[in-house]
């Protein structure tokens, strides 16, 4: 046992201030998530209910095992866009009959559940998660199809939806469609491409062309039910495997289908877990409001890993990056966490070695990001910071063990890459409300623009407009600041959600369990390079 001790002084004013700031951000997060939960608003929710229908999240609650956890993914999708927060679809990881599944539920109260570009990205992300982690995919279908004004953003890339479904199936990952309502035109291929299809009697409507289109195309008179009713599909076309009496029955059948998948997880079985010795609640008071002030990530590790038990690797070498081994909810993990923000050559080499060691022992990696990037300056360039940074990025990019990333604070520059940012395909990536990501800090970025502008003016022999420069800097700073914020980035699907720091252990534990549905990946080809 190498139990971490905490130096966090919870009675200090600094702790109180950090905690208060974090709680304020969490209140904003809740407010934004509430917008997604509210769906299309009271009017459309009421209309949906008067039709005797369940809301998307109600369907999910009934589908998953009672009292089991459910991790909603990308709840802030479309934040900052022209479309409602949540992107008219709910996706997440839930447990159905003891099987971890990816669940995708259209929210028909938002513009009829129509897909917009963000809906598409959110849905595709869910399918990726299902494929990478070998998780059965359950679609709760009720969608009016594509949002026609933005069809150019949807139509061509949207074909992936159907390709993903059948590729999942080809990979041995079951796909289930419970059709509650409209699933027409392109949407008809969701049940079409699924392994198991349930349709709700008198509600499901699945056809390629509706009555008006059929009339225009062939002159035939037809009604919804004869073109695509659940009864027709169950009796005649065979597109529906099960005819459900109502929505509850469809969910019941869906659960029975999952039960009969005879699912077996192929990965590691967790060891017994003990709670951290330090209070998770104190995670609220660790990250400084000003991200220029560093914090010790061991305070975070001590509050998320089993028994606060952490075996640190190379503690004396490259001290600005903390690396080490721990268990989380019984699953072994390797942790990489930024300590002083900056990554130097030693840190990069240490990271590269550690990642190789993790690959050697098939241990998943957890990246805890708070980095301002790789060190710049003459001395560092000369000592090969690019080479070392590349080494680390190379290791991250080609590591085959599952990666999980949590952005606690700063995530700037190539540090974002080396610490397994979105582009490096971690299995899951979550951000704390205190996170910020950009190519560099807003002040630095504005300053760089100012220096470049001043140099250009001087080269042209002009007098630099100092007033204009100040306004430009303020504007750029504000814009970069806004675009570095977690809601904005989450809205663009650059993470899988903004989470409460106190939920970190739960979220990571849930993801580790999900990951282990797939077999452990095969190791890469080289021995470990000593750095």
């Amino acid at each position: 046992m190498s139990v971490l001790t905490s130096r966090l002084d919870t009675s200090a004013a600094e702790y109180g201030a950090r905690r208060a700031a974090m709680l304020a951000k969490l209140a904003e997060l809740t407010a934004e998530q509430d917008k997604a939960v509210a769906g299309g608003g009271q009017k459309y929710v009421d209309r949906h209910r008067t039709r005797g229908k369940l809301l998307a999240r109600e369907r999910i609650e009934l589908l998953v095992d009672p009292d089991s956890p459910f991790l909603e993914l990308s709840p802030l999708a479309a934040w900052g866009s022209d479309f409602p927060v949540g992107a008219s679809v709910v996706t997440g990881l839930g447990v159905v009959e003891g099987v971890e599944c990816v669940i995708v539920a259209n929210d028909p109260t938002v513009r009829g559940g129509a897909s917009n570009p963000w809906t598409l990205r959110k849905t595709l992300r869910a399918a990726d998660i299902a494929l990478e982690n070998r998780l059965p995919l359950i679609n709760l279908v009720e969608s009016g199809g594509a949002d026609l004004p933005t069809q150019k953003e949807i139509f061509i890339p949207g074909g992936r939806i159907f390709r993903d479904l059948t590729r999942l199936s080809a990979a041995g990952i079951p796909t289930i469609a419970l059709v509650f309502g409209n699933s027409t035109a392109g949407g008809a291929y969701v049940p079409g491409m699924s392994d198991h299809v349930v349709m709700v009697r008198d509600r499901a409507k699945v056809f390629l062309g509706g009555p008006p289109l059929v009339k225009m195309a062939t002159g035939e008179d037809a009604d919804d039910e004869s073109l695509g009713g659940a009864g027709m599909h169950a009796r005649d076309s065979g597109l529906a495997d099960y005819l459900a009496a109502d929505e509850h029955d469809a969910l019941r059948i869906g659960r029975r289908i999952v039960r009969r998948l005879n699912w077996r997880k192929l990965g590691r079985v967790p060891e017994p877990a003990t709670a951290p010795r330090h209070d998770e609640d104190e995670l609220l008071g660790i990250v400084p409001e000003d991200l220029r002030v560093p914090f010790d990530p061991r305070e975070v590790i001590a509050r998320i890993v089993d028994g606060s038990d952490f075996d640190e690797f190379k503690p004396l070498y490259g001290a600005s990056l903390v690396t080490g081994w721990a268990n989380l909810h019984g699953y072994p993990i390797g942790v990489l966490a930024n300590a002083q923000g900056v990554l130097f050559g030693a840190e990069a080499q240490k990271a590269a070695q550690f990642i190789q060691l993790a690959n050697q022992s098939r241990t998943p990696l957890l990246f805890l990001q708070n980095t301002t990037g790789y060190m710049v300056g003459k001395e560092y360039e000369r000592s090969g910071i690019i080479k070392h940074g590349s080494m680390m990025i190379n290791a991250v990019a080609n590591s085959t063990v599952p990666h999980l990333t949590v952005v606690m604070g700063a995530s700037y520059g190539a540090g974002n890459y080396g610490m397994c940012g979105r582009a490096y395909d971690p299995r899951f990536l979550f951000a704390w409300p205190s996170a910020k990501s950009a190519v560099m800090g807003p002040v630095q970025l504005a300053g760089v623009l100012s220096i470049v502008g001043r140099a250009a003016a001087e080269a042209r022999g002009q007098v630099y407009d100092e007033e204009g420069d100040a306004a430009m800097r303020a504007m750029v700073e504000a814009q970069i600041e806004a675009e570095s914020m977690p809601f904005f980035l989450s809205g663009r699907l650059y993470d899988d959600g903004v989470i409460d720091p106190r939920d970190t252990r739960t979220v990571v534990g849930l993801c580790l369990s999900a990951i282990n549905n797939a077999a452990e990946p095969a190791p890469a080809g080289f021995g470990v390079f000593r750095m």
């Binding site: 089991s68 956890p69 447990v95 099987v99 509850h248 909810h329 019984g330 739960t506 849930l510």
Partner: protein, 634 residues
């Protein structure tokens, strides 16, 4: 004539009661049983057990089978218990004729008391007070009774002379069916009377004891529910008079063994009601107060022993309640089904005198059937005074874990705590007037119990989870609605958050699948939760609550009228064999359907009438379409 191996021609608690004394005396025990009782406790604990014939439920009433059981088991004595053949002179004679010792009075005494009409005449002759004969101008109310009756059957209350004829007729019919003797008689009904009875014990040597009185006024439909000794209404003077009358009665019929003389007490006068020539259900209260074992005395008397000259003196107060699998709130409907758990806290003894005595015919896992009396057990408290005995009994009952069919437990507790009972002023009309059927658990208790049940189930769900069992219950990063547990009685909505239970005015202290501790308004309360298929029981100091968990996603039930005949598959109607309104017998063809070149005959499921006919020859029908509806004959 020492008894070596004794057969009890009975079941349930009384069989076990007799066995207990046999064990004390070193007598081997023989149980008899029917198929329904094959797994009953009385069978398991006997040294020998004999199935009665083919196991038919009426076996306990079959004299030949019981005598045969005694023969094959090598029994040398028979105890009849109460009920069944206990007051059947023919049975007593058969036992004696088989050369066995009969633990009971002489058949002649049974015979003499068997007819209430004749018994009454006999008692009047012996100087025992009886109700006066009716005269022409009696205005009522009246009580019609079966001469051979017992247990309230063949009994009718009639308000005025106009209703008498009809009551006599129906009572006679019921008596004929129940006892094989349709004789009935009429007495004046004493509405405010108390039921007082005297325990008699007579040996074969001329000694007759009167072991004081028992009061059994708390009755529902003439079935005793609460009994006690002594009676709060009996003065020492009255006690002496009652003892004398009972002793006279016993002597008048040459009684031997244990018996009971029942009286009605009204306005300070008492009237002979009937004599029960057997051990009474409520005998334990007398045993407590007199410190005797009546079954032991019965056996010893049958063996020829003599009673000491004077009976022991009474000490203290004893109260018995009869716990029935009957729901007082549902018109006393008897319940049946598994009794998962039966546990009464603080019981000090079973079948022997103590401060809290349990005489039970059931145990955890017993199946409560419909063939026999729904009494589960008797609970008897014994204390220096009446108040203390009532308090002990009520508290023990209230805390009992009874997980099975609905019982009269709450009613019994309500009676024991009722001011009228505590004042000792109850009469036989008490339950008709009050019927305190309100459950001990009030609305708040039910709500909290359901919450506890929901939280216990959540804990069980987490413990049983195949994956993610270590994560917080019902955890959500985006909470949109509460966790829910639906019961037929009410639905519980709650959410477990990092700050604990999100539920108004309740703090969760701890929850595991079997127990939930809640802090409600500063008071900690423990709720014990037990889950069984189709029922959840929550026991707490607030009362016991039974909940019926509802399936979250029930299988849909086809909404078709009973008796509907659906088409088994799509097809064409080939023939229609009936017309609407036709009577049909079971299995009679109604419609013949042709489908896939096969003829399918749709048959009437039961005898009845064609209430609906929806098809004609040549019709094409969908699978599941209702072809016809047969209304079952009454």
């Amino acid at each position: 004539m020492t008894v070596r191996r004794l057969l009890v021609a009975n079941r349930g608690e009384i069989a076990r009661r007799v066995f207990r004394t046999c064990r004390d005396l070193g007598i081997e025990t023989v149980a008899v049983f029917t198929a329904a009782d094959a797994a009953a406790p009385h069978v398991a604990e006997a040294d020998h057990a004999v199935r009665l014939g083919d196991g038919s439920p009426k076996g306990y009433l079959d004299i030949g089978l019981v005598i045969e059981a005694a023969r094959v088991s090598g029994a040398d004595a028979v105890h009849p218990g109460y009920g069944f053949l206990s007051e059947n002179a023919e049975f007593a004679t058969a036992v004696l004729d088989a050369g066995l010792t009969w633990i009971g009075p002489p058949p002649e005494a049974i015979e003499a008391m068997g007819s209430k009409i004749e018994a009454k005449a006999l008692m009047a002759e012996a100087g025992v007070p009886v109700l006066p004969t009716l005269s022409e101008d009696d205005a009522g109310p009246f009580l019609v009774k079966a001469s051979a009756g017992g247990g309230g059957r063949g009994m009718r209350i009639v308000a005025d002379p106009a209703g008498l004829a009809e009551a006599l007729e129906s009572a006679a019919r019921e008596a004929e069916a129940a006892f094989g003797d349709g004789s009935v008689f009429v007495e004046r009904l004493l509405p405010d009377a108390r039921h007082i009875e005297v325990q008699i014990l007579a040996d074969g040597h001329g000694t007759v004891w009167a072991l004081g009185e028992r009061e059994c006024s708390i009755q529902r439909r003439h079935q005793k529910v609460v009994e006690e000794a002594p009676s709060p209404a009996v003065t020492p003077e009255l006690r002496r008079e009652l003892a004398e009358a009972a002793t006279n009665a016993a002597r008048a019929i040459g009684y031997r063994g244990a018996g009971t003389v029942e009286f009605l007490l009204a306005d300070g006068s008492f009237y002979f009601l009937e004599t029960n020539t057997r051990l009474q259900v409520e005998h334990p209260v007398t045993e407590s107060v007199y410190g005797v074992d009546l079954v032991r005395l019965q056996i010893e008397i049958a063996e020829g022993a003599a009673l000491p000259g004077l009976p022991p003196s009474p000490v203290g107060h004893a109260i018995e309640v009869r716990l029935y699998a009957e729901d007082p709130a549902q018109d006393w409907r008897p319940g049946s089904g598994p009794l998962h758990r039966f546990e009464i806290p603080g019981v000090e003894s079973e079948f022997t005198v103590s401060a809290l005595r349990l005489d039970s015919g059931v145990r955890d896992g017993s199946e409560i059937g419909t063939h026999y009396d729904p009494m589960l057990a008797k609970l008897i408290s014994y204390a220096p005074n009446r108040e203390a005995a009532a308090r002990r009994l009520a508290t023990a009952l209230a805390g009992a874990r009874i997980h099975g069919p609905a019982t009269n437990r709450d009613l019994l507790v309500n009676v024991l705590r009722h001011p009228e009972f505590r004042a000792g002023t109850t009469d036989t009309g008490f339950l008709d007037r009050h019927a305190p059927t309100e459950p001990l658990a009030d609305e708040t208790a039910v709500r909290l119990s359901a919450l506890a049940a929901a939280l216990a189930r959540a804990a069980a769900n987490r413990a049983a989870a195949k994956v993610l069992g270590g994560l917080p219950s019902g955890w959500r990063n985006v909470p949109s609605q509460p966790q829910q547990a639906a019961f037929a009685e009410l639905t519980v909505s709650y959410r477990l958050t990092r700050d604990g239970l999100d539920y108004p005015d309740v703090t969760l202290v701890s929850a595991d699948p079997a127990q939930v501790v809640l802090d409600v308004g500063g008071v900690r309360r423990a709720f014990d939760v037990a889950d069984y298929p189709g029922a959840t029981y929550v026991d707490s100091a607030l009362g016991s609550v039974r909940l019926t968990p509802l399936d979250r996603l029930p299988e849909p039930v086809e909404q078709v009228a009973p008796g509907s005949l659906p088409a088994p598959m799509p097809g064409t109607v080939l023939r229609v064999e009936v017309k609407a309104g036709d009577p049909v017998s079971q299995g009679q063809p109604v419609v013949v359907l042709e489908a896939m070149k096969m003829e399918h005959r749709i048959l009437a499921p039961a005898e009845g009438v064609v209430a609906e006919l929806n098809v004609a020859v040549g019709d094409h029908v969908e699978g599941g379409a209702v072809l016809a509806v047969i209304q079952k004959g009454e």
